[in-house]
């Protein structure tokens, strides 16, 4: 196994970068959520259209690198037709695998995408349906937590490493 840390992507990422599936704002979405921040250089917006307990459509927007775009795109592909519970059970590793692997420094792209999805599902139950199913944990999932941490951490790192005096 290589120990290099390059940005050599799997061909799948480049393919999705060239022709992203499920791209764009969904005007009749049941719920919309976002993860990341412009200052981090990574923002993923996830749109879900929900019918009963099923995700019947999904789309994304992405401000970020090719891995970010590809992760968001493939995630929306993966969840279409799934129940909300099935979608919730997806992990960032599932998405990374579906992409044909990610360079370690790009794991956070997959985390953001899945974090965004889980935020959307949580928001759907908490703010729109206003009733939570049993399987939805009260505590944040690892991807939600890591997305939040990254959003905050990066702000702190900027301060720590910022060269501007």
């Amino acid at each position: 196994m290589s120990t290099r840390t390059p940005l050599a992507y799997s061909p799948k990422i480049l393919e999705l970068f060239k022709n992203p599936k499920n791209l764009g704002r969904m005007n009749d979405a049941s719920v919309v959520s976002q993860a990341g921040s412009p200052a981090c250089g990574d923002v993923i917006t996830i749109y879900l259209k929900i019918d009963g307990d099923k995700i019947i459509d999904s789309s994304f927007e992405s401000y970020g690198c090719a891995a970010n775009i590809a992760a968001a795109s493939i995630l929306t592909e993966m969840i279409k037709g799934k129940t909300l519970k099935e979608a919730w059970d997806l992990t960032w590793e599932d998405v990374a695998n579906e992409l044909g692997g990610l360079p370690p420094i790009k794991y956070h792209c997959s985390i953001l995408a899945v974090g965004g999805l889980k935020r959307a599902i949580r928001k759907y139950f908490e703010e729109i349906k206003r009733e939570k199913p049993e399987w939805l944990p009260k505590d944040l999932s690892k991807e939600e937590r890591q997305a939040l941490e990254e959003e905050e951490l990066i702000e702190r790192m900027y301060k720590k490493y910022g060269v501007v005096t």
Partner: protein
């Protein structure tokens, strides 16, 4: 494991290609490669400090290349230390000075906030060895203010390192004034300049500038990789930072990379053969590219100054609402090869410290693209680039939620969960 060959296949070879990433890796013209070839196996393939024919032939290459370099910089005395990269030469300048001064009372190292990381990082590391590390801020175009510099140095300052030309935004410092200001405070302060991005684009006169050390890198002037140079003024004492068998020099151990040095010599010759013409050509292409981008793409910011104080080969633009790594890939698919100051391409979780230092916001830095023009580019190249950039940026803005958020009114509460 990622199969890179499949990635390359997915990318495909664009029918038209324009290389504008000479900042990160220089394109080497056939003439330079030609100049290297004999030294692999026909002559001069020996060790330049061994007394046999291939050794003496090798030594001649080292000697004649360095004589040529001295001439182009008006160096009359002092030493040119050969390393294998500009990074190594900068490390030698900074760490070698600190090592030599280890027991002295001068403990302050002053560098500009926009130095290359190969100056910034070794200098910062010296904090662990009890040195004080001070960065000099720059203004919105990247200039160091001589008065501020003068206030930051004192008679406990060991070393000042300020580059001649910034590698990302092309700012040309008024180095002679900066040197003077420092030496006026205390003539014993050592002044190093990283001239990696200045060499071959500006006239440099080492004697006139009064610097004590100066760094060059072969692949930044279309020479091969594998050669860095540190000029060290006559009488200045620095310490080696690596140790081993010496060849013809004391300051960097190991055998000289003779074929690469031969190629570097040829690259120097070519850069200075029609120096004015080369510079003029680059300036024209530079301005054509800057004007073209700013005119055709909305929401763009030029980073760095305009006109005579900008390096002739440098174009750096922030494209708002899109992220730089995506842009490099999008342009690569169109056969245009550039780099970005985005955090995604920097291998640390921060965007370019240079773009931040001139007061840009993070999101502006993430969308910054560096186009490094060379004399091997043509007007047609730039025309092609200008035809593609608007399309590329438009496509990425289609994907980005930020571009649209900036245009339409959106329920923020709805989007930011």
């Amino acid at each position: 494991m990622v199969k890179i060959s499949e990635l390359l296949e997915q990318h495909g070879k664009p029918s038209r290609e324009v290389y504008l990433d000479n900042e990160n890796s220089g394109w080497v013209p056939p003439e330079v490669v030609e100049a290297m070839l004999p030294y692999f196996n026909q002559k001069g393939y020996g060790h330049p400090s061994i007394t046999n024919l291939p050794g003496w032939e090798a030594y001649e290459v080292v000697e004649s290349t360095l004589e040529l370099v001295k001439k182009t910089l008006n160096i009359r005395s002092g030493e040119l230390v050969l390393t294998h990269s500009g990074t190594e030469a900068n490390n030698l300048a900074i760490l070698g000075t600190a090592l030599a001064a280890n027991k002295g009372k001068r403990r302050k190292i002053v560098v500009s906030a926009i130095e290359h990381m190969s100056v910034l990082f070794p200098a910062r590391t010296l904090e662990e060895r009890g040195f004080k590390f001070v960065t000099v801020p720059v203004d919105k175009e990247g200039f160091v203010n001589p008065e501020i510099l003068s206030m930051l140095v004192d008679n406990e300052t060991l070393l000042v390192s300020i580059q001649m030309v910034n590698h990302e935004i092309g700012t040309i410092q008024d180095l002679k004034t900066l040197v003077k200001v420092v030496k006026d405070v205390d003539s014993e302060i050592i002044f190093h300049t990283d001239a990696v991005d200045a060499y071959g684009r500006l006239k440099i006169d080492v004697e006139d500038l009064g610097v004590d050390m100066l760094t060059l890198s072969s692949h930044k002037i279309h020479g091969p990789k594998g050669v860095g140079v540190l000029y060290v003024r006559e009488g200045l004492k620095i310490s080696p930072i690596l140790y081993g068998a010496l060849s013809t020099q004391k300051m960097w151990p190991g055998v000289e990379n003779v074929p690469a040095i031969a190629g570097f010599g040829k690259a120097v010759e070519l850069a200075f053969r029609d120096f004015e013409g080369n510079v003029e050509k680059m300036k024209n292409l530079r301005d054509m590219l800057i004007d073209g981008i700013l005119e055709t793409v909305p929401d763009t910011l030029l980073n760095g100054p305009r006109g005579e104080k900008r390096a002739p080969d440098n174009v750096n633009v922030s494209f708002l609402h899109v992220e730089g790594e995506s842009i490099t890939i999008e342009l690569s698919l169109r056969g245009i090869y550039v780099s970005s100051g985005s955090a995604c391409t920097s291998r640390v979780l921060e965007p370019s410290h240079v773009i931040l230092a001139i007061g840009r916001k993070h999101e502006e830095a993430h969308g910054s693209i560096l186009f490094k023009i060379s004399r091997y580019n043509s007007r047609e190249d730039i025309e092609y680039v200008l035809s593609q950039i608007p399309l590329a940026i438009e496509r990425l803005r289609e994907i980005s939620p930020l571009a649209k958020q900036s245009k339409r009114s959106i329920d923020e509460k709805e989007v930011y969960a």
